[in-house]
Amino acid sequence: MEIPYTVSTRPDTGLWNAKVGIWLFLASEVMLFGGLFSAYIFLRLDAPPGMWPHGLLNVPVGTMNTAILILSSVTVVLAWAALKMRRYRAYWWYMLATISCGVIFLTVKLAYEWPQKFEHFGAYIKPEALGKYEQYLGNKHAAEKDLPPRLEITGHLHNRAALNDPNIKEYEVALDPLNADPTNPAMDRPHFFPLPVTDKIAKIEKEDVERATMFLPTHSAYFASYFTITGLHGMHVLGGVLVFIYMWLPVSKKLYQRNPEHLANRVEVAGLFWHFVDLIWIFVFPLFYLL
């Protein structure tokens, strides 16, 4: 006996095997990201006032990446439809478009967004020293406006050596606009277009600092979740791209010539996965970039 319903549908379920398989897989993926998002909620609700940063990510770039992923979800459907109509050339082009979207997304993430974060610096000030740095923090202003307290000074670290060298007693930081002008009402909310780092330099004594790091996963529960979730999401994008590349290469043309429906099924399954990856991003984007 041969395994049935690999390509054709089983009459009573109306499905072929891989379609059942991919939906089950996606169910487990929902639980995986569901676990991570629950952790996000848990940690965020637990965070003391002022300990959950806002406005540190680049919203326009994130928006562009969102658009790119949505576009790729459209092109993959078009690729599938082209196969169903047995138009291989159109399929080939749509697939190429999908793959390119995935690659652009990953490149933006890995070559631009993440490294930019790694270059950014933040120092949490000890509670007893907050007053000393009021000119950078503007906590009085924040309290008046009912904003969460500001505990961290961020910007570009000029003396990188200070991170590891105990003989250097202070950090020299080119301040972010918020810390450069903390009482300016324009700084009360994050901006859609991120403002560049100012040329105002602050000297922060290490003694007054509770913890100072670059924007790495160790920086805070916020960046820990950000890097973990976007990293895992990125791995899913990469997986999808690799599968698409396989389906786009000449090997798959052979399958097309032998059994076009089989290839169409494969593209459908991969496409479902791709939509899911897209959907996850639709959650990631507001949770980390906007809220």
Binding site: M1, E2, W16, L43, T213
Partner: protein, 621 residues
Amino acid sequence: MDAATSLETHPHAAEHEHHELGWWRKYIFSTDHKVIGIQYGFTGLIFLFFGFSLMMLMRWQLAYPGQALPEIGKFLPHIFGPNTMPDGKMTPDFYNSLGAMHGTIMVFLGIVPLAFAAFGNFVVPLQIGAPDMAFPKVNMASYWAVFVGGIVMLTSFFVPGGAAKSGWTSYVPLAAVADTGPGHLPIFNGQTLWLIGFIFLITSSLLGAINFIATIIQLRAKGLTWMRLPFFVWAQFVTAFLLLLAFPPLEAGIIMQLMDRVAATSFFMPAGLVVNGAAMQISGGGSPLLWQHLFWFLAHPEVYVLILPGMGIVAEILANNSRKPLWGYKSLVFSVLTIGFLSFIVWAHHMWLTGMGSAVSAFFQTTTLIISIPSVIILSAFFISLWGGSIRFTVPMLFATAFLPMFGIGGLTGIPLAFNSADLYLHDTYYVIAHFHYIVAPGTIFALFAGIYYWFPKATGRKMNNFWGKVHFWPTLICMNVIFLPMFLQGMLGMHRRWYDGGQGWTLSGEHVWGLTGFQWNTPISWAAWIMGLAQIPFIINFFWSIKHGKKVNDNPWEATTLEWTAPSPPPHGNFITAPIAYRGPYEYSLPGRDRDYTMQNEPVEPSERVRRKTAEPVLV
């Protein structure tokens, strides 16, 4: 001739290819569900024995704390390293490693591979009349994932500092700081390898679960409607859903704990943590409770993963050996579905001590009590199935009947734990150990033995020896009870489950129960454990001996009804010569008016039969 036309003209071309597979593809990197099932079976059995051996070592330390282990104790440091048992005396760290790895290995590398994957793989496709699993390559991948996971877990014994030592639950922050600091390597340390190994085990279970569900939905034989599925298939179906949906959140937790260890994040680390007198250089802001939630969100469903396949096996064997239909088939099916659903909303009953507030606590107490109802229904239906049967006490049946009271004890002793007022006292004592071991050890493991004796003839065409089967059964049954029954007493005396000295240094241990103090009970328990180890020798010998020399039997030696017994023994690649068709339910034993007392699922319903049985279902062909 190109590939396309050759496929069309020779519909069996692919099959012919299979016959020419080399030895490696046929027996090692096989995609045949039966071979994979057997691979899983051997892997599971080996790990079960290994995990049990770890426990036999711990039992020495509990019975004779601080004393040198004779003979073996001299030899072990050569394997596990000089810091494990200097002069044959077990160090606390090594004791903790043994405990954590015993739990991990038994649950995730012993029972799950054996109960779910091995029996599921070998039996389910045969029982539903399918040629193989829906995704044979995925099936192979899932086996190799568990294999790699197992190797990683084993490797962790040999890295500096030894294997993971924070319990099978790996509670943070204990687990997060364990195996770090001087004398430990960055990745190659016990706890980190535990996490990495775990990711492989989870991957394996997820792939397996997808495959099982898809197979059961898509590849059922013609006429095999849902209500004609053997109960074992239902049990595996629900089990697969538990794995599919409960494991990913733990995977998320594992990834986060891994990040805490390798990227110095603080998912589970609160601010201001001081370890060994030094403040930790971390951001804080994490939550240890988060880990417990993620862990138990898996680990409660997991306990049903451990028991449901066992229940399925027992159901098959009870019906077969009582020569009666299973009593209350439909209630069994709905109970198992109910258990599957409810098991997702009881997890916090493992966390009463965390003080989650009375409302949350009331919710979880209620759900926990409700979930015991379907369990009781299943057990009652099994008992009633025996009523009035003409019972054959075959070896599988001995194990299956012993399962019933053992599972009963385990389940009933769970009820006091379900009330947080009682559990505040019993939590983390030997009472809890006894509770769940009654379910998984004389419960599930007996079901697994029953299944091995029962389906052995299908896999090999030979029966295992009856006499040696009984020699295996009776001492194992007695030892199991000598081991676990006194643990209830110890627990009620307040003995903590993780004490390294067996409670010797503990003041209240002077109290006597049945003539022994809580501490003194350790000695008979340990001896029973070691004797039980010896009692497995007849099984091991019987098992290997019977593969070559067991009594040759026909395709249906137990005179059973389900479809796997219509296939040749051992079934060839593709299982059935022609696609089977099911005409009736799974347990048509002792139908009136037949000369045989069993009617197989593929025997068409005769017109006379339909008149006689007014309830005859419409025949779906």
